[in-house]
C-alpha cells in the first residue's frame, strides 16, 4: 500500500470537493486525510489530499485532472511514501 499526498487547485465551484472525493473512492484510493481552504479573493480552492492505494498515483491524478473545475493537480513527492506492509 502506497501513501500519496496530492496538492489540488480548483475553482471554488459547487460540489468540487465531492467530485474529487468521489473520483478518489471510485478509482481505488482510500482517503487518509484532507485539508481544504478557499482564497476568497481569487475564488480558488486549495486541497491537500492524503490517499492510500496499491494503484499508481498517476491513475488518480489523470482522473482528477479531467474534472471541469480543476486547475492543477500535483503529487507532493516529499510527503508521499511507499509502505512495506
Amino acid at each position: 500500500m502506497n501513501n500519496y499526498q496530492l496538492m489540488i487547485k480548483a475553482d471554488d465551484k459547487q460540489v468540487v470537493l465531492e467530485r474529487i472525493l468521489q473520483v478518489a473512492r471510485y478509482r481505488g484510493f482510500l482517503i487518509s486525510g484532507i485539508h481544504a481552504q478557499v482564497n476568497t479573493g481569487t475564488n480558488i480552492g486549495t486541497i491537500e489530499l492524503l490517499v492510500r492505494s496499491e494503484r499508481p498515483i498517476e491513475l488518480l491524478v489523470d482522473q482528477i485532472n479531467k474534472l471541469i473545475d480543476i486547475k492543477e493537480v500535483k503529487v507532493d513527492n516529499s510527503a508521499s511514501q511507499q509502505c512495506i506492509a
Binding site: V15, Q22, L59, D62, N65, K66, L67, K71
Partner: protein, 554 residues
C-alpha cells in the same frame, strides 16, 4: 426608450437551446418542470414525448450518435430525474454528448424532503461528465452555454443541468450571452511522433486497433487514409465498427470476447499495436497480461487518462485524431504479414451452414444487412442478438451502428432507434433486439406510434435471456437460473396494439420474403424471428482467458 424584454428562465432555456442549433428534444413533463413545458409552447424546438424518462435519455443518445449533434432530454424532479440516470451512465460510458435538463423543487423547498425531491445533482456525479444546479437566474444562460461546451469538448459526454422551479419562473434580462469556451481545458502533452514513427518503421507485424473514438472525433476519413497508406491490417472494437470500410482487404473484423478468429489471432501475434480512440476495455483484451503479448503500443487518444490506464503505451499520441493520424501515415513494407492476415480471414470466414429448419440468427442478420438501403442506421439492444449483429452486419460509418458498448444497457435499442429516426427522417432505421431487452423499454412503441416513425424492429426471439443462459450452460454447469422467458407476451399482438404491423417467422423458408416485406413497408414494422433457444454466440473467449484461446463450439 424601449424597455428591455424580460424572459422567464423557462423561455431563456429555449432561446439558448435554439442558439446551439437544437431542433429536437426528448422528454416527459411533471410538476417541477412545468414552467419549462409551458415555455415550450412558444419555442421553435420540437418536443418528442417519450413514455418513460429512460426512453427519453436513450432517444437523446441515439439522436446524438446518429447525427453528431448534442442530444437533449428533459425530465421532472425526483423519479423523473432518477429515471434518466441509466441513460446518462450509458452516455458517459460511450462518450456521447447529451445535455439533460431536470426540473427541481423550488430553492426554498430544497433540502426539506419535499414532494418529488431528490438530490439529482449529487446522484449525477458518478454518471455525468459534469453537472450543474442553477440557484440564481442570472447564472442560467452561462451555465447552459457551459453545458453544451463541456458535452462537446475533448472526450465528449453527458452534462446535467438541474433547474429549480422558481428559477424556471424567475425573470431575467432577455439579452443572450455569447457562446463560452472552457476555462480549465486539460492541457495535452506533445504527441510522441518521433517515437511512433520509429516504432512503425521497425514493425514487421503491426495491427491497427480501431475504437469508438474515431467516429467521435469525426476522423473516419483520416483513419481510412492512414490504413490505406500504411497498409496495416485492422481490427475494430464494438463501438469502432464502421470506421474502417468493412470491404477493406486488410480489415479482419471485430476483436475481443466475440471477435473473429482472424482478428484475435492477428492481435495476439502482432509486434506493434496501434490503438486509435480505443481504451483496452476488458471485453476487448480478455486476460490483460496475455493480450498482444509481444506488441509495442502506439496509443492515439484525446483523453490523457486513457494512456497507460490498462496497457502501457510505448508512444502516446494525445490530441485530435484528424491532425495526428495524417502525421503518422507512412508507407510500410509488410506484405508478408498482410498476406498472412488475409489468409487467416479466408481460413476463418463465417460459416452460415446451419442444419435443420430452425432459423439461424446470424444468417438472418446478414441478409438484413445485405438488403438494407445505403445509410441505414442499425441500433441494437444487449445480448446474443447484439453480438450477432456486430459479427454479421456490415456498417460503412460508426454513425450507422448504435449499440450500448461500455454500459451494455438492455432496453437501449428501441428508444435509440426513435432518436436516430428523428435525427435522420429519410434514412432507414433498423432496431435489432432480443426478447429480453425488448421488454425493458417496450413502452417506447407508443412513441413510434405517436410520431409515426417508420422504424423496423427485428426481434430475435429465443424466449430466453440468451447470453446469460449461454454463460450458465458454459460456466455454471448448466444450472439455468431465472433466464427462461417462456411467458413472453404475443409480440405480434403487442405490436398491433400500437398500430405497428408485425409478423412472426419460425422457419428458414420464411426469412427472405419476411425481410423483403419489412423493408418494403412504409411505416413501422416488427419482425419477430423465433430461433432455437440453444443457439450460442461463437467464437467466445472465456472470462480471464487470452484471446487466442477462444471457444468455437461445444
Amino acid at each position: 426608450m424601449a424597455t428591455e424584454k424580460k424572459l422567464t428562465g423557462g423561455s431563456l432555456l429555449f432561446n439558448v437551446l435554439e442558439q446551439h442549433g437544437v431542433e429536437h428534444v426528448f422528454g416527459y413533463p411533471g410538476g417541477a418542470i412545468m414552467p419549462i413545458y409551458d415555455a415550450l409552447y412558444d419555442s421553435n424546438v420540437e418536443h418528442f414525448l417519450c413514455r418513460h424518462e429512460q426512453g427519453a435519455a436513450f432517444s437523446a443518445v441515439g439522436y446524438a450518435r446518429a447525427s453528431g449533434k448534442v442530444g437533449v432530454c428533459f425530465a421532472t424532479s425526483g423519479p423523473g430525474a432518477t429515471n434518466l440516470i441509466t441513460g446518462l451512465a450509458d452516455a458517459l460510458a460511450d462518450s456521447i454528448p447529451v445535455v439533460a435538463i431536470t426540473g427541481q423543487v423550488a430553492t426554498s423547498a430544497m433540502g426539506s424532503d419535499a414532494f418529488q425531491e431528490i438530490d439529482i445533482f449529487g446522484l449525477s456525479l458518478a454518471c455525468t461528465k459534469h453537472s450543474f444546479q442553477v440557484t440564481d437566474i442570472n447564472d442560467l444562460a452561462k451555465v447552459l452555454h457551459q453545458a453544451f461546451a463541456i458535452a462537446l469538448e475533448g472526450r465528449q459526454g453527458p452534462v446535467l443541468v438541474d433547474i429549480p422551479k422558481d428559477i424556471q419562473l424567475a425573470e431575467v434580462n432577455g439579452c443572450l450571452d455569447k457562446l463560452v469556451s472552457l476555462k480549465n481545458k486539460v492541457k495535452l502533452p506533445p504527441a510522441n511522433v518521433g517515437s511512433a514513427i520509429a516504432l512503425l518503421n521497425q514493425a514487421k507485424q503491426p495491427v491497427l486497433y480501431v475504437g469508438g473514438g474515431v467516429g467521435m472525433a469525426n476522423a473516419v476519413d483520416e483513419l481510412r487514409e492512414f490504413a490505406s497508406i500504411t497498409g496495416v491490417p485492422s481490427v475494430s472494437t464494438l463501438k469502432g465498427l464502421g470506421a474502417i470500410d468493412p470491404e477493406d482487404e486488410n480489415y479482419l473484423g471485430m476483436l475481443g470476447m466475440h471477435g473473429t478468429k482472424a482478428a484475435n489471432l492477428a492481435v495476439q501475434q502482432c509486434d506493434l499495436l496501434i490503438a486509435v480512440g480505443a481504451r483496452f476495455d476488458d471485453r476487448v483484451t480478455g486476460k490483460l497480461n496475455e493480450f498482444a503479448p509481444n506488441a509495442k503500443v502506439i496509443h492515439f487518444d484525446i483523453d490523457t487518462a486513457e494512456i497507460n490506464k490498462r496497457r502501457v503505451a510505448d508512444a502516446a499520441i494525445l490530441g485530435d485524431l484528424k491532425v495526428n493520424l495524417p502525421a503518422l501515415a507512412i508507407p510500410l513494407s509488410i506484405a508478408t504479414w498482410q498476406d498472412k492476415c488475409q489468409q487467416m480471414k479466408v481460413d476463418f470466414a463465417w460459416d452460415y451452414n446451419h442444419p435443420g429448419e430452425s432459423i439461424f440468427a446470424p444468417a438472418v442478420l446478414k441478409e438484413v444487412s445485405d438488403k438494407m438501403p445505403k445509410n441505414t442506421c442499425v441500433t441494437t439492444d444487449v445480448g446474443q442478438h447484439q453480438m450477432w449483429a456486430a459479427q454479421h452486419m456490415l456498417f460503412d460509418d460508426p454513425s450507422n451502428f448504435l449499440t450500448s458498448g461500455g454500459m451494455g444497457t438492455m432496453g437501449f435499442g428501441v428508444p435509440a432507434a426513435v432518436g436516430a429516426q428523428v435525427s435522420r427522417p429519410t434514412d432507414c432505421i433498423v432496431a435489432v433486439s432480443g426478447d429480453g431487452s425488448f421488454m425493458m423499454n417496450v413502452q417506447e412503441l407508443s412513441t413510434i406510434k405517436r410520431f409515426q416513425l417508420p422504424v423496423k424492429i427485428v426481434l430475435i426471439d429465443n424466449a430466453k435471456l440468451g447470453m446469460v443462459r449461454q454463460w450458465q450452460d458454459l460456466f455454471f454447469n448448466g444450472r439455468l437460473s431465472e433466464t427462461d422467458l417462456a411467458d413472453n407476451p404475443d409480440f405480434v399482438m403487442l405490436a398491433n396494439a400500437f398500430d405497428i404491423k408485425a409478423k412472426l417467422i419460425s422457419k428458414k423458408s420464411e426469412v427472405s420474403d419476411a425481410i423483403e416485406d419489412m423493408m418494403n413497408h412504409d411505416g413501422p414494422y416488427l419482425l419477430q424471428v423465433k430461433i432455437n433457444a440453444q443457439d450460442n454466440v461463437w467464437p467466445l473467449v472465456p472470462p480471464n482467458t487470452a484471446n487466442d484461446k477462444m471457444m468455437e463450439s461445444t
